[in-house]
């Protein structure tokens, strides 16, 4: 198990390094000079040159990259042009909001998808199955930003039940906090729920056809226990790992959701830093996103290996 983890971690370290190179090249090697972006239109060429030197932009590219990645490894992601503050604390300050949103969305997604996936599989080909299929199709096809706007229109503007946006941390009181995070989490969670429902249905169908299920039934285990204990537990393993791999969609969806609902999270920070051409901040947020994404994949891999010895041996 330890060997497996070490190998996976090594691969992922390479992936992270490659990803950081991609981010760096995108930000630096493409047309558009951050120094010009930072100064006013009538800045003199000398001023631009001076600022470029200050930012280290005059050095060779590989040196710039090594300096950046070396600093990043020690937690120094540079300084934001716009906020005139270090990048990492800026991001970490916004991170809990995104985490709150992601956790709530995941909870909502599981709350919908587990019963839906099981029902669809146990009623395969029947009305419930078709209904789940259509709802899941709607869930994967509906743009998260449109769903968010429609929800604001209905629940905030027309019905006036929920606030149209903004954020209240859990420390501000659970009711107020939940009222603010509920709509964004539903908007973000439904697409994820649809994906998980589809995966769970497929793996439930697979598990329900296995011999040990037939044996359990033959032994007189009640059908309810067969489905919710034996089958679901086995079907959840591949589903949850697959769900972990599509967590990236949640991160990307968080950008749109946070913009629509005015949540001060990492996604909105990314959006704002792009609008203000704050390159160190953009780099930092993207790098951190990739890091979280890759880390979750590693955890999912480990979880899978822990639960299924075959994966451990073949890798």
């Amino acid at each position: 198990m330890l060997g497996f983890l070490t190998r996976r971690a090594a691969t992922l370290a390479i992936v992270l390094l490659g990803a950081s190179l991609v981010i760096f090249l995108i930000m630096r090697a493409l047309p558009g000079d951050p120094a010009i972006g930072m100064l006013t239109v009538n800045a003199s060429p000398e001023m631009i040159k001076e600022l470029r030197a200050q930012l280290g932009l005059e050095r060779p590219l590989h040196e710039q990259y090594l300096r950046w990645i070396g600093a990043a490894l020690t937690g120094d992601l540079g300084r934001s042009f716009f906020f005139s503050a270090d990048v990492l604390p800026l991001i970490l300050e916004r991170f809990p909001v995104t985490l709150h949103l992601a956790a709530m969305s995941l909870a909502i997604a599981l709350l919908i998808s587990v019963p839906a996936g099981v029902l669809a599989a146990t009623h395969k080909g029947r009305f419930v199955d078709h209904l789940c299929r259509i709802i899941a199709l709607i869930g994967v096809s509906i743009p998260v930003f449109w769903q968010g706007l429609l929800m604001i229109l209905l629940f905030a503007v027309i019905l006036g039940w929920l606030p149209p946006g903004g954020y209240a941390p859990p420390s501000a009181g659970l009711v107020v906090s939940t009222a603010h995070i509920l709509m964004p989490s539903i908007a973000l969670g439904t697409a994820y729920a649809a994906t998980i429902t589809r995966m769970l249905r497929a793996s439930m169908l697979d598990v329900l056809g296995r011999d040990y299920i037939t044996v359990a039934r033959a032994l007189g285990v009640p059908e309810r226990a067969v489905i919710w204990n034996d089958a679901l537990r086995n079907a959840l393993i591949p589903t949850l790992t697959a769900a972990g791999f599509s967590f990236g969609y949640l991160l990307a969806g968080a950008v749109l959701t946070e913009v629509i609902f005015n949540l001060p999270g990492m996604g909105r920070l990314l959006f704002e830093s792009i609008l203000s051409r704050d390159y160190p901040l953009v780099q930092g947020v993207v790098l951190l996103n990739v890091f979280v994404f890759v880390l979750i994949n590693l955890v999912m891999d480990a979880l899978y290996a822990l639960l299924d010895p075959r994966v451990r041996e073949s890798a």
């Binding site: 390479i14 490659g18 229109l153 990236g248 969609y249 993207v286 996103n289």
Partner: protein
């Protein structure tokens, strides 16, 4: 020498045509999706036929509710929303289709080479690069690239790359790894088939074996995935346009129209929000359904078998 089916005197396309008819009849939703895609293509080619009003010229009828003259109402500049939706169809569809074409153009050969040569250094090299690309949460990288390039046309020496093309390249590139993985997995299975041995025995070149024979038999999962990818690509473009990084105003785009509508949600002007989003939703839905339909069609084992997803 081609597919095994022709060797035993069966025309596989005839069977597929019959099955297409049956699946369409059995599944009215799929039929609707099919017709909707046809309608979208018609709209993309002849927008003037479907909407006579200008999608760009402002008028005095600002923020009018839907009526007989303005089926979907008008926006903050008095432009007809139906006309704008219609004229945005072409750009959304072309971004969707070109993106997928680009992803296939790179992903299929890369996946085929990696699969055929697996395990080897080139396989490992290709797949690690794919892993790096896969490490990016999809829309995030697109946002970063488009942000770095700016939302204008890019000039590299004598070459001018229009912003729309840039969008297509970026979204396409992000999807290359998934295509490559699917093709690689399929090639890994196919290369051990009898007909490959037979090809080798009669001295066919490897290039011919891979690109003429093996790939032909790997086409179904690729076609299914490509169809689903059109849906994802259209969604990505809409998301980028919504964030102001995609299609630039005054050119109409569904995502851009939704971004404009944000200001008017709170004052209850619902038609600005509802209609452009509905079009994105229906289009994405139609391509997703088409993908599911193709999967049933190309892999009949999944219709009757239990591996149905």
């Amino acid at each position: 020498m081609s597919t095994p089916a022709t060797l035993i005197g069966v025309d596989p396309s005839a069977g597929k045509r019959r099955r297409l008819g049956r699946v369409l009849l059995r599944d009215p939703l799929a039929l609707l999706a099919f017709l909707f895609v046809l309608l979208l293509v018609a709209i993309a080619f002849f927008p003037e036929f479907f909407a006579s009003l200008s999608p760009i010229r402002p008028s005095r009828n600002r923020l009018q509710e839907p009526s007989l003259t303005n089926l979907m109402g008008t926006d903050q500049f008095g432009r007809d929303i139906w006309a704008r939706c219609v004229h945005a169809t072409r750009v959304s569809l072309s971004v969707g289709l070109t993106t997928v074409a680009f992803a296939l153009l790179l992903g299929v050969p890369l996946g085929a080479i990696a699969g055929f040569r697996s395990p080897s250094l080139i396989d490992a090299a290709i797949m690690r690069v794919m892993d790096v690309l896969m490490a990016f949460p999809p829309v995030i990288l697109a946002i970063a690239v488009v942000a770095a390039l700016g939302a204008n046309d890019v000039e590299w020496g004598p070459i001018t790359i229009p912003h729309v093309t840039k969008l297509m390249l970026v979204i396409g590139l992000l999807n290359v790894p998934k295509v490559a993985r699917i093709v690689r997995a399929a090639v890994l299975v196919e290369r051990n088939e009898q007909y490959v041995l037979a090809e080798r025995a009669i001295g066919a070149s490897e290039l011919r074996i891979v690109f003429r024979d093996i790939l032909r038999n790997c086409i179904s999962p690729v076609v299914v995935y490509a169809t689903l990818l059109v849906a994802t690509a259209i969604l990505s473009e809409a998301a980028l346009s919504f964030l102001g990084l995609g299609i630039q105003p005054p050119q109409p785009s569904w995502g851009g129209m939704l971004a404009d509508s944000r200001t008017y949600v709170m004052s209850g002007q619902w038609w600005l929000t509802v209609f452009p989003g509905l079009l994105i939703f229906l289009t994405v839905c139609a391509f997703n359904l088409a993908g599911d339909l193709l999967r049933d069609l190309l892999d009949p084992a999944q219709i009757t078998g239990r591996g149905d997803a």
